[in-house]
Amino acid sequence: MKVSTTQVFDRAIAQMSSQQGKVAEMQAKLATGKQLIKPSDNPEQNGLIQRLNSAVERQESYEKNLGTLNNRLVAEEVSLRSAENILQRIRELAVQAANGSLTAADREIVAVEVKTLREEFVSLANTKDVSGNYVFSGSKVKTPPFSENEEGVLTYQGDSNVISLSVSEQRQLAMNKPGNDVFTSVVRSTDAGPQKVGFFAVIDDFSAALEDNDVTNIHRGLAEVGHISEALSLSLADVGSRMTVAESQGDLLADTKARYDALLSDTQDLDYSTAVTKLSAELLSLEAAQSSFVKISQLSLFNYLR
């Protein structure tokens, strides 16, 4: 089968240059440490890498949110704990005051302390977090939750909206508890039927009862303070449980992120040992092609014509 001379040369050159191309590609991969030099090398793999990158960024974004959530929860917890302590104190005072052995003057002294504690409550209720948002206002974070009018009546200015944060693709956690849920009201049965009495109104009524030396109302105050104290403890427990959930979510996120990172590395990064082996194989075949070409191209009948 006749092979023309040009064929011999052309074919050999073509094979050598394609081999050189492969060697250059391997070299580039080794230099960058990545399996893909450009996306068009393997579009499907590139798509996978992009998806994984997005997933990793999402996890980071959720972690950031968890950080913000934790700050918020810590602020809530701190003020609720102080509030709990204050309520504890008020309960003690209530028990003390309900004791028949106290005189009216004693009770008035107690009333003074209750009034001071009440002021502390108001400032605790109007806590702000690190970003300057009111913690207990629901979604009205720039409005103080409790404000006092001229008669000293405190009304709740916030709303009942619960703000949720995305902490994972499927999960949202509540960031806050609205003020009226924390500083709850009690139902007081009066002659006019059941009536709703606000948190601060309970304390105000109690201090009024102390000043008036009204034993029935002092007992009533004791019971009501007990109710609101229970509710506050519930809120505190709720904050605590939310913090636990946030922590476990954080662990979960860290795990997920580690998994994604590993997957990404698998897909994206070059396996050096196989790459180097491949490179030596390519180099070998290039050398073989070159030396065989030199040998074969020298064979010609004209060499033997004098």
């Binding site: 092979v3 068009s40 944060l165």
Partner: protein
């Protein structure tokens, strides 16, 4: 002659020529397209000597060219096939590199955008997070634009390359035509110079690289070339070549039209599917086109989804959110005679309706309108001129300046949707992160329930199934335009839709008819009609699913008025005519000019003929009971007809006027019968009120005179109307009295006037400076109004913000006419009027509109399901107690609310595109698709490479020069030449021997 010398010399010559052929082959070793030449020899003609033939040596027959037509053809075709793949791979990889990279691809921009949204949702009140969100949104918008720009530049490059290839193809075709001309000079192939044939094959091979060609060779060696296959377009024939041209379509990037003779007849050529050109065309239509379309679709979908969510939210100022992103196409405007005085500006108003195709606008002076022709579909629309902006295809086009009749403007959208994505809200405060509504528990609530609110994206999902939308009917309230419908208590006959304003329905009611209207809201509130028993209440709400299944029937607002009315709307069931005002121009007080003055116009009603009743009994008969009709708030007493009397307009008018002071309505009676000229039957006779009209007549005037002649006894006069025709009416002082027509010939039912022989009772004219408003009291029914010659109507004053169902109940068919004013958009009302949810018991609640204090609905509550009203969906944690009130109102002040931002965040993984793909996924799919096509091409390329190499080898085997072979031939011919030289020498020696003889 058979002679040693001549044989020798011819042989020497022959071998010399063979040697030069061999050396020619060696010299042309590296010439492209060279086919190996061989000198062929032929035996010389033998010479006859006696009975013996002696050979005369050998001669050069010719230089043959080693050439196999079939091998050549195979090589050409495999070259074409191979060349198809390369452009696809090259450009597909370009696209993947641009779209799939981390830095220039869309995925990373999406990730940043959603990460910013996530941070914003954690602290919506902070201007810092808002600023970051605005920044990353702008980054996303500009990434869309950049990517679109990159894709556009790839598009342009491909176009340019196609143009280049076509130019090259044309040049080659012209060259081939010249070669054909030269070949045509000789008749047979073996006489053609080999070099010319080599050139011809070279050109053909280059042609095949560009596009697959079908070559048919004539015996003389000339070729005719067709594109693609034997059925393709002819581009080169024996003498000439045809040029190719290309045309692109801006609005359809995949479309490439190849034309033949583009500067002449320009007709379409057959498809080119192979070769470089074929590869480029395939790339455009199968890869680039879908990518551009898919990317544009992605951009449009993303923008519309985000905008929809953003518009339903509230920004940090408490205002309703507007569009976050927009798509701004730019346009190029060309005109046939575009003078500098014409200014055109185009805005995109409705992105969903905009078709990205160019159109022409032609000014039609006579009709003061534009004739708009779409370039893509050819559809023609006529649009009336509007200086504020013509609406077409979602655009608002303003043309300022004087246009000539027939002048055409050509509007071409320059940019694709994705290239026009912009961020519209750049002010961080205007980012709508919060929900619009919030629910709060009233501080007095005793129950433990915590309410939470979500915004429904389908607030008006409940619509009435039955009932014709009145806006789809003609706007004509007169009785002649009435529709006839069957009554039904189960399904509404009409629906007054949300947004309709000043809706009116009027029904003709005859004597004794049981027809009634009932109007209800979707929550079962009966606003107009008559009180119905319980089974009818259930029936009304039972069939149409437009009623809320949990709603209870309520008649608290039935026919209520003014501040007690449902939502304080002005509703009337009965008859209503209002006074109005007109503005006139009067001389101004200081006499210098004119000033406008507003004059009130009284309400004026002309009824249809009143009920005629002849009381032939001996009792007084009540036509209208007491406690039936109320006029302007005053309940009218009974209308009675004494024994032997009859009811007529005059009598009824008197009855009404007796109460003018209380009602404010004055009435007068009129009885007029108009007859057209062509209805008058001059052959008949006429009796009026029993009195015979004398004489025979053949003109209207004489008939009229004859009627007037007996008017003293009939109290009826007549005159000829302005447009001809006869008008018969009461004489002075007898206004409203009955007019009875008869015919002395009792066999006839009609008379000279062409009307029936019966009593005509007249009509009422009611007027009031305020209004004429009839409503029904407890015993009133529409048939009572018909006694007064009035139709019964439903009137809605102003616009309604919810659908109202209108029932026509009764037992006979009804004729109903419909009228309405200009519909208002209810968007302002949709800004949600605040409402309260009041629980009257643990299982029943009321929805109360806070502004008008109307109970909009009374519904059952099962304790678990969510409550939806309009766009608010409220769910409870814990049971509400009786007396608990939950208020739903605007969320102004709730700057920390992140509800809307959470919804935008959900778009990241929400499956909003076909096949359950999210935005990011869909983009990656686009890139992967291109990748698949590139891989396919690569695989094909490898296989085709092998095929092409084999074909090249086969050709080389036939036509290629092998140095070894040539070296062997050299040796052969050299030896032969030496031998021939020896022959000559031998012949010389022989001759010497002859010469030596003395």
């Amino acid at each position: 002659m058979s002679d040693l010398l001549s044989i020798g010399s011819s042989a020497a010559q022959l071998y010399r020529q063979s040697l030069s052929t061999v050396s020619n082959n060696i010299a042309n070793l590296n010439t492209e397209g060279y086919s190996r030449q061989e000198a062929t020899s032929v035996e010389g003609m033998p010479s006859q000597q006696g009975t013996v033939f002696l050979g005369t040596g050998a001669n050069l027959q010719g230089i043959s060219r080693s050439y196999d037509e079939f091998v050549e053809n195979t090589l050409r075709n495999s070259t074409s096939d191979l060349a198809t793949q390369q452009p696809v791979i090259k450009y597909a990889e370009r696209i993947i590199d641009v779209m799939g990279s981390e830095t220039s691809g869309l995925t990373s921009a999406f990730d940043r955008f959603f990460a910013a949204a996530n941070s914003l949702s954690a602290d919506p009140a902070s201007n810092v997070t808002r600023g970051v969100f605005v920044r990353d949104s702008e980054a996303l918008a500009s990434r869309f634009r950049e990517l679109s720009g990159s894709l556009d530049s790839i598009d342009n490059e491909v176009r340019n390359e196609i143009g280049q290839e076509i130019k090259t193809l044309n040049t080659l075709a012209q060259q081939l035509a010249v070669i054909n001309g030269q070949l045509g000079e000789k008749i047979s192939l073996d006489k053609q110079p080999a070099r010319l044939l080599d050139q011809r094959d070279m050109v053909l091979r280059k042609l095949a690289d560009i596009a697959k060609v079908h070559v048919s060779e004539a015996p003389s060696g000339t070729v005719s070339v067709r594109l693609g296959s034997s059925a393709g377009s002819l581009i080169v024939d024996k003498k000439s070549s045809v040029d190719l041209g290309v045309r692109f379509d801006n609005s359809d990037p995949g479309r490439v039209d190849i034309l033949l003779d583009p500067y002449g007849d320009a007709y379409a050529s057959s498809t080119i599917s192979s070769g470089k050109l074929g590869g480029l065309i395939n790339f455009r239509s199968q890869t680039l086109g879908p990518v551009l379309d898919g990317f544009d679709f992605l951009a449009q979908k993303f923008v519309s989804e985000v905008n929809q969510i953003h518009r339903s939210g509230m920004d940090s100022r408490g205002d309703r959110g507007k569009d976050l992103f927009g798509i701004n196409p730019t346009f190029s405007i060309n005109g046939t005679a575009l003078s500098s005085q014409i200014d055109v500006s185009i805005d995109l108003q409705d992105p969903d309706n905009f078709q990205y195709s160019p159109f022409n606008m032609t000014w039609v002076d006579a009709e003061d309108s534009w004739k708009i022709t779409s370039q893509q579909t050819g559809e023609i629309t006529k649009v009336k001129n509007d200086l504020l902006g013509i609406s077409y295809s979602g655009l608002s086009i303003k043309v300022q300046g004087v246009m000539q009749d027939g002048e055409t403007l050509q509007i071409v959208p320059e940019t694709r949707p994705a290239a026009g994505v912009v961020l519209k809200e750049t002010d961080p405060m205007s980012i709508a992160a919060a929900r619009r509504l919030s629910v709060s528990s009233n501080s007095d609530n005793i129950g433990d329930a915590q309410a939470s609110l979500a915004i429904s994206d389908n607030p008006y999902s409940k619509q009435f199934e039955y009932g014709t939308n009145i806006l789809s009917l003609g706007n004509n309230i007169s009785p002649s335009a009435a529709l006839t419908i069957e009554p039904s208590s189960l399904e509404p006959s009409f629906v007054i839709p949300r947004g309709a304003s000043d809706a009116t329905l009027m029904m003709e009611v005859s004597q004794g008819s049981s027809l009634q209207f009932q109007v209800m809201t979707g929550e079962g509130v009966h606003v107009l009609g008559h009180a119905v028993d319980q089974s009818t209440q259930m029936a009304l709400m039972s069939k149409d699913s437009g009623f809320n299944a949990n709603a209870k029937y309520s008649d608290s607002y039935l026919n209520a008025e003014d501040s007690a009315a449902y939502k304080d709307l002005g509703l009337t069931y009965g008859f209503l005519a209002k006074s109005s005002e007109i503005t006139t121009w009067v001389p101004s007080e200081d006499g210098t000019g004119m000033q406008s003055s507003i004059e009130p116009v009284d309400a004026l009603v002309q009824s249809q003929p009143v009920r005629y009743f002849d009381n032939t009994t001996s009792q007084t008969v009540k036509l209208i009971d007491e406690n039936s009709l109320t006029l302007n708030g005053y309940t009218l007493p009974a209308l009675t007809v004494d024994a032997g009397q009859d009811s007529n307009a005059a009598m009824i008018s008197e009855w009404l006027n007796a109460h003018s002071e209380e009602t404010g309505v004055t009435s007068s009676a009129i009885n007029e019968i108009r007859v057209a000229n062509n209805k008058i039957d001059f052959y008949q006779q006429l009796e009026i009120n029993g009195v015979l009209v004398q004489g025979t007549h053949n003109t209207v005037d004489s008939l009229s005179d004859a009627i007037n002649a007996v008017s003293a006894s009939t109290n009826v006069v007549s005159y000829v109307g302005r447009e001809g025709g006869l008008v018969v009416t009461n004489a002075e002082g007898f206004a409203g009295a009955d007019i009875r027509f008869g015919n002395p010939d009792k066999t006839q039912s009609s008379n000279a006037l062409g009307v029936e022989n019966t009593t005509y009772s007249g009509a009422l004219e009611l007027s009031s400076s305020d209004r004429v408003r009839f409503t029904f009291a407890a015993d009133g029914r529409p048939s009572d109004l018909s006694v007064l010659g009035l139709r019964t109507g439903i009137y809605v004053d102003g616009a309604v913000d919810e659908d109202l169902a209108v029932y026509v109940t009764g037992s006979e068919a009804a004729n109903i006419s419909v009228g309405y004013g200009k519909s208002a958009s209810t968007d302002a009302q949709d800004a949600e009027s605040a409402f309260d949810l009041k629980f009257v018991s643990a299982s029943e609640y009321q929805i109360i509109d806070r502004e008008s204090e109307t109970i909009l609905a009374t519904r059952q509550f099962d304790g678990v399901s969510d409550i939806q009203y309009r766009s608010a969906v409220i769910s409870f944690a814990g049971p509400p107690a009786a007396g608990d009130i939950f208020s739903v109102s605007s969320n102004v002040g709730g700057v920390g609310d992140n509800g809307t931002m959470l919804e935008i965040l959900a778009l990241q993984t929400k499956e909003i595109l076909a096949g359950g793909r999210s935005l990011s996924d869909s983009f990656i799919d686009l890139v992967t698709d291109v990748g698949n096509k590139a891989t396919l091409s690569r695989v094909s390329q490898e296989a085709l490479q092998v095929v092409q190499e084999q074909a090249a080898e086969a050709r080389d085997r036939v036509s290629g020069v092998s140095l070894d072979q040539e070296a062997a031939d050299l040796i052969r011919f050299q030896q032969a030449y030496q031998a021939s030289a020896q022959i000559i020498q031998m012949s010389s020696k022989i001759f010497d021997s002859i010469l030596a003889i003395r």
